[in-house]
Amino acid sequence: MARRLLLVVLLPLSLLFSGCPKDPYRAAIQGSSDVSQAVSSGIKITASYYASGTFNDGQKATAAKYFTVVTDCNITFRKAVTDVHISGQVGVQAFLPIADSFVTCVGNSAPMSNDQTVVAVLKGTDTAIRAISVAIASAKGVKQ
């Protein structure tokens, strides 16, 4: 039942985050902001799961660790994107490697979980992170 409810979150997420911003810089920053919002939602859903007894202490700690890692990687990502923008680079190719680094940053530090209930809660944030590359690649701008 809990996993079915999360599908209600995941479907809108994938639709909402699939927009096509005007330029790669805006796409990257919008994507970062979407991740921040997804983390916020994930925290609230985790708290709700814990309060209802769906999550135990270990599951809550795993989710909290994941959200901490994502938030730190997201801050690093946004700073790198801003630095590239300030340096005058405007092409999609300047921003795609930074988005890839974001995925790697989370993958290297986030806790692994085989618990499907935990995975379902984290899936919305993971979708938002992976959508950044798609949004940047889809943005209008210099494709160099």
Binding site: M1, A2, L5, L6, V8, V9, P12, L13, L16, G19, Y25, R26, I29, Q30, S32, S33, D34, S36, Q37, A38, V39, S40, S41, I43, K44, I45, T46, A47, S48, Y49, Y50, A51, S52, G53, T54, K60, A61, A63, A64, F67, T68, T71, N74, I75, R78, T82
Partner: protein, 56 residues
Amino acid sequence: MNPQVVIGIGLTVLDEVLAMIAHVKGQSGLTTEDIAAVADQQDLANKDAIKQLLAL
């Protein structure tokens, strides 16, 4: 699972879907720098929320 618990979780999920829609719609009139500033604030709020989550 207790139906009341399911309804409670369902309402939380619905709230978050509405929050995401408001988030995306709210970005349309903002500059890129404004969106970055909003994200900075959200990340700070998230860090506080994670601390509160761990304290539950």
